[in-house]
């Protein structure tokens, strides 16, 4: 008994030594910045005015300004449109792609890897790729349109199409992610289910709606929520393709916060915008964790 107690004590000591450096470093490089961000959001800090970094005379000023800032409200709306259409298209197309590639074959297994390329490319390279596609002088897309006698407007500088152009690029980039998750879910469906249904005379469409779809619905939702969280980060595409324009048609909240801090030098106000964005992300993350747990409990 006493020997085991000794081993336990030794194990606990090891655990402390193994964990402490990580926790300290995480606190310094993630915890402190988070705290500092909150503190800054309570000041009217501008880079040109150093004294303002410690001015706490009106701590909630920034947050009171937010609802009346048309650019901020607009940015939330743009983000909502980008997230909604992006997530919807990615889950839908990812599912179709997963169904298409859900088959046993050496070649198909190799092809699956190639389908992942857009997702693993550096985001800035994805932005460059779509910059080439959307630039009329050098774009195969515009050339193809001219062959068909169609005059295409410049997509990224058009009020009507700029956001759509970004959604298309974002969907191209992230569809492999939903595809991969959904394919993994498809592969866990026991074959007997659909075989039994086939014997009972069900057609393929019925099997899809009554067996496959209910089985993969949780993963559709979860993969969609992961994309929802990450859609807030769509920075390189906006930065390179439209710069938030024309006007502020594609100015998502992330981009607005970036402009505020590093173009307009409004560090304090930008921090408050970022905090609001962070709270939204945390709320969705909590939802994902909760759903993940429930799914594990069910399995």
């Amino acid at each position: 008994m006493s020997g085991e107690g000794l081993v336990d004590a030794e194990r606990r000591r090891f655990n402390r030594i193994a964990l402490a450096p990580s926790l300290i470093v995480l606190f310094v490089i993630a915890g402190l910045p988070a705290i500092y961000l909150v503190v800054t959001s309570l000041t009217p800090f501008q880079l040109v005015n150093p004294g303002s970094s410690t001015d706490f005379s009106s701590p909630l000023r920034n947050y009171r300004l937010l609802p009346g800032d048309p650019r901020f409200v607009n940015s939330l709306w743009v983000q909502a449109k980008l997230s909604f259409w992006g997530v919807l298209l990615q889950v839908l197309l990812g599912m179709l792609l997963a169904l298409l590639l859900h088959t046993q074959s050496r070649i198909v297994e190799f092809a699956r890897t190639l389908f992942l390329i857009p997702m693993v490319l550096p985001p800035i390279v994805v932005a460059i790729i779509w910059k080439l596609i959307y630039t009329p002088d050098i774009s195969p897309l515009y050339y193809a349109a001219s062959l068909l006698n169609v005059t295409m407007p410049s997509l990224t500088s058009s009020v009507d199409f700029a956001l759509t152009a970004i959604i298309i690029a974002d969907t191209w980039e992230w569809m492999p992610f939903t595809f991969l998750m959904i394919l993994a879910a498809l592969q866990t469906i026991p074959e007997e289910f659909s075989e039994a249904a086939l014997v009972d005379g069900a057609n393929r469409l019925q099997i899809f709606f009554y067996i496959t779809l209910p089985f993969i619905t949780p993963i559709l939702v979860i993969s969609g929520m992961f994309r929802l969280i990450d859609s807030v980060k769509a920075f390189p595409l906006v930065f390179l393709l439209t710069g938030g324009g024309p006007g502020s048609v594609t100015e998502v909240t992330n981009y607005y916060a970036y402009l505020l801090a590093f173009d307009f030098n409004e560090i304090g106000y930008s921090s408050s915008v970022t905090i609001v964005m962070l709270l939204l992300v945390v709320a969705v993350s909590l939802g994902v964790v909760w759903m993940g747990r429930r799914r594990e409990a069910m399995a």
Partner: protein, 283 residues
Amino acid sequence: MSGGKSGSMIGPVRRSASPRRLVAIGVTLIMLLSPFLWLLQMSFKSNDLILQFPPPLIFTPTLQNYASLWQGAFAASFVNSLMSASFSTALALILGVPAAYALSRWAGRGKHALSFAILVTRMAPPIAFTIPFFLFYRWIGLLDTVTGLVLVYTSFNLPLVIWMMQPFFETVPSSLEEAALVDGASTRVVFLQIVLPMVAPGIAATAILCFLYAWNDFFFALILTRTNARTAPVAVVNFMNYEGWEWGKIAAGGSLVMAPVLIFSLAVRRYLVSGLTAGAVKG
């Protein structure tokens, strides 16, 4: 994408692929990868050829775009990217691997809270960290240094290591460790000599993902560097700003930035999703 036209793609029955399905897969693949292939072929064309339409199907590829990149400042940016990604990967592994092992053997209170904190760190938009880091670096003089980038990248790589390594440690049978402990080995020795070698593949996969995340970063480098520590992704974008639009150079630069990513990520294909979802879902 042709929806539910071919009936066989709807059902969950796994069977060998029909020729029709193979054709559909091939066509979809070519369509989806064509934007990527367009960039690649452009990097081997001279600027005159790039502007030429209809595009010639057969042309003599030139390496002049790559050569001019290598002679310019781009090479230094490439080295900066390599250094900041490698060092932050090493730092995150050294700190995170023992922590993940301890956490995987620890059922104490606070584990869930800690896990969630780590998840949030991974999910937070980069700008949340950029503002504090920018102000702090400006103050202590770490702006535009590789050291500064390494620290920032560690802020998202360390949580990734702690998340990704835990399941690997859980697969090590505890009977092995207990046997060694009974023989009088210390936990440190058990960890270093028995457990670590068994999770080597997991460490390799985690290391590659860390490297890729740091390598792929654009936002932090855009704001926290100017000229000295500028990374390759930022350098490529800078070709768009002056001296006209050097499309050939842009395409070659983009191709160089994505080369290591393509090679490495195909090697860790299995772990891509668990890395991206940060462990909230069991992959």
